[in-house]
């Protein structure tokens, strides 16, 4: 909806939008800045914004003290593993629903969405119990499966909305030109589907990375990801602002960067295609 406006109006818009944007972003900016201060400067009164002695000490202390590497590794394995596993299950399902729809396709899609609405706390104990019985408590494998199941409806839906946009005429044209089924899948469908699959991966990875109910309740030491790493700072340790900031920055930086690339997919994925 780009309209021509007077430069004055544009200037006002720009100023206002930047002010609001910076205000919303400020807590993150403040965290990042504080992570480079010494503990003393972090709680100085009045607060210091930029004129402090930049130091990397907090990062090395956090790394040393709390085995950040292992938490990071767990986050990567859990988010990555559940995403890959989810895609393996969801791609064929979404594919068949998009290209060979039946009367029941819509009902199945809506039913899948409905499983997403099951409040986690309502089934916490059964899952907890099953995890103990199966020896999955505090294991990465268990969390990979749970994350995959939680996000499976979103993966299927997103892929479905992407696949449905691949026009059937192209396939027919290829067939008329004598393409075999293998060539059809390999040279036509796959290249057209890859952007959709990549976006789905991205959003799903972010959702799994930030998930904080199951990761807090089903892990203790071995499988604990970054959500749990940060939650451990809710004890009085959190009063060390600079270290808390360094730990926070380390936990959110990778996902913040990925997230900025996936804004559009976010709209599509989380509204199940209802807003485009």
């Amino acid at each position: 909806m780009a309209r021509a406006v007077t430069p004055r109006r544009k200037l006002v818009n720009t100023g206002l939008a930047w002010a609001v944007g910076l205000l919303i972003f400020f807590p993150i900016l403040w965290t990042i800045l504080t992570s480079f201060k010494t503990e003393g400067q972090a709680i100085a009164s009045p607060p210091i914004f930029l004129g402090f002695d930049w130091t990397l000490e907090n990062y090395s202390v956090v790394m040393e003290r709390s085995d950040y590497g292992r938490f990071l590794m767990n986050s990567i394995i859990i988010a990555g593993g559940s995403t890959i596993l989810g895609l393996i299950v969801a791609v064929p399902a979404a594919w068949s629903m998009a290209f060979v729809p039946s009367q029941r396709t819509k009902d199945i899609l809506l039913w899948m969405l409905s499983t997403k609405m099951l409040p986690a706390v309502g089934v916490l104990y059964p899952i907890y119990l099953l995890f103990i019985q199966l020896g999955l408590l505090d294991s990465r494998a268990g969390l990979v499966v749970v994350m995959m199941l939680i996000n499976l409806p979103i993966i299927v839906w997103m892929l479905y909305t992407y696949f449905r946009e691949i026009p059937g005429e192209i396939l027919e044209a290829a067939r008329m030109d004598g393409a075999t089924l293998k060539e059809e899948v390999l040279y036509i469908l796959t290249p057209m589907a890859i952007p959709g699959i990549a976006s789905t991966m991205l959003l799903n990875f972010i959702l799994a990375w930030n998930e904080a109910f199951w990761t807090l309740n089903l892990t203790a030491v071995d499988a604990a990801p970054l959500t749990a790493f940060i939650a451990s700072y809710s004890s009085p340790e959190g009063l060390f602002f600079a270290k808390l900031s360094a730990a926070s920055t380390m936990a959110i930086a990778p996902i913040l960067i990925l997230g900025w690339f996936s804004q559009k997919q976010l709209v599509r994925g989380l509204t199940f295609g209802a807003v485009k």
Binding site: R9, K10, T14, A17, W18, V20, I24, F25, P27, W30, P47, V89, P92, W95, S96, M97, V100, K106, L110, M112, S114, T115, M117, L118, P119, A120, V121, G122, V123, L124, Y125, L129, L130, L149, L152, P153, I206, N210, A212, F213, N217, L226, T227, I230, A231, S234, G238, F241, L244, I252, L256, L258, G259, L266, L270, T271, F272, G273, V275, K276
Partner: protein, 288 residues
């Protein structure tokens, strides 16, 4: 057009996803239902047999129940009102021509990607701490007494934290919707002399109605289940115990599985009522 063969192939391709989700839904659900009718205290005698609707009655009649329902509703409603109202305004602002639009969008969307445990802790310590928090500095600067946010004004503080996390989502969806608005319609209204408020009320708002509904429904589902924000800030104290947090405490802290499961069934029913509305809207969207 699809042959019998491709139909059965399609069914086969769908099977793993359907079976997995069916299991994920039914197994814990049946277990929760089962436990909800039993007296089950793992640390105090284990499973002590059937008890009928006792747990359901006890959960509802406990003194913690109604305050928890009230807290849940206040958080959901408070966050919805703030995020939708500010989201509409922000979406309209971001839709205007300006310099650096892409960067502003990135700044606005960022909080959504911050994990809930981080945002709760950052707000709790670096902003709301009554001694060293930024708000305390600000209050002192203006000569006021610093506030102990998370104990004296726990609910507004939590609503603020959660709103900060969800405002980007609302804004982004409303912005996407606003961008699909036909600008000619607005220009025509402008030329016909419709004042800005009328243009907003009669053109922009109706156009956004569907997107707003979607935002409300999806946020409600997530907000009914917020956990980490309360877990790391107040731990359910100072009147911030939501229904989900109450169930969590019954199950894991007091180890009363029967009672917690009955609460879980209530939570499932509550979420389903919201879900039915969402399904209707999404389902309609599938048809066209």
């Amino acid at each position: 057009m699809a042959t019998q063969q491709s139909r059965s192939a399609a069914r086969l391709m769908m099977a793993p996803a359907v079976v997995l989700l069916l299991g994920w839904m039914l197994v814990p659900l049946i277990m929760t239902l089962w436990f909800s009718f039993r007296t089950y205290l793992p640390l105090r005698g284990g499973d002590q047999g059937w008890t009928g609707f006792d747990n359901y009655v006890r959960f509802v009649t406990s003194s913690a129940f109604w305050p928890a329902v009230q807290t849940t509703l206040m958080i959901v409603l408070g966050v919805l009102i703030i995020t939708v109202a500010l989201g509409v305004l922000l979406a309209m602002l971001l839709d205007q021509p300006m310099w650096g639009q892409g960067i502003v969008r990135i700044l606005v969307i960022a909080p959504f990607f911050v994990m809930p445990t981080v945002s709760a802790l950052v707000w709790k310590n670096m902003f709301m701490d009554p001694v060293n928090g930024l708000f305390a500095h600000l209050w002192r600067f203006f000569g006021a007494e610093p506030v102990s946010w998370l104990s004296d004004a726990a609910m507004p503080s939590i609503i603020m934290i959660v709103s900060w996390q969800w405002l980007p989502f609302a804004t982004l969806i409303l912005l996407t919707a606003i961008q699909s608005l036909d600008s000619e319609q607005l220009e025509a209204a402008e030329m016909d002399g419709a004042p800005p408020l009328k243009r907003f009320a009669f053109i922009i708002l109706p156009h956004l109605a569907r997107a707003i509904t979607i935002v409300i429904l999806i946020q409600t589902i997530f907000l009914l289940a917020i956990f980490a924000e309360i877990f790391v800030t107040t731990g359910g104290a100072f009147g911030t115990r939501t229904l989900s947090y109450l169930i969590f405490q019954r199950v894991l802290e007091s180890q009363n599985i029967g009672l917690g499961s009955a609460g879980g069934v209530y939570a499932i029913i509550l979420a389903n009522i919201v879900a039915i509305f969402l399904m209707r809207i999404v389902g309609k969207n599938l048809d066209n």
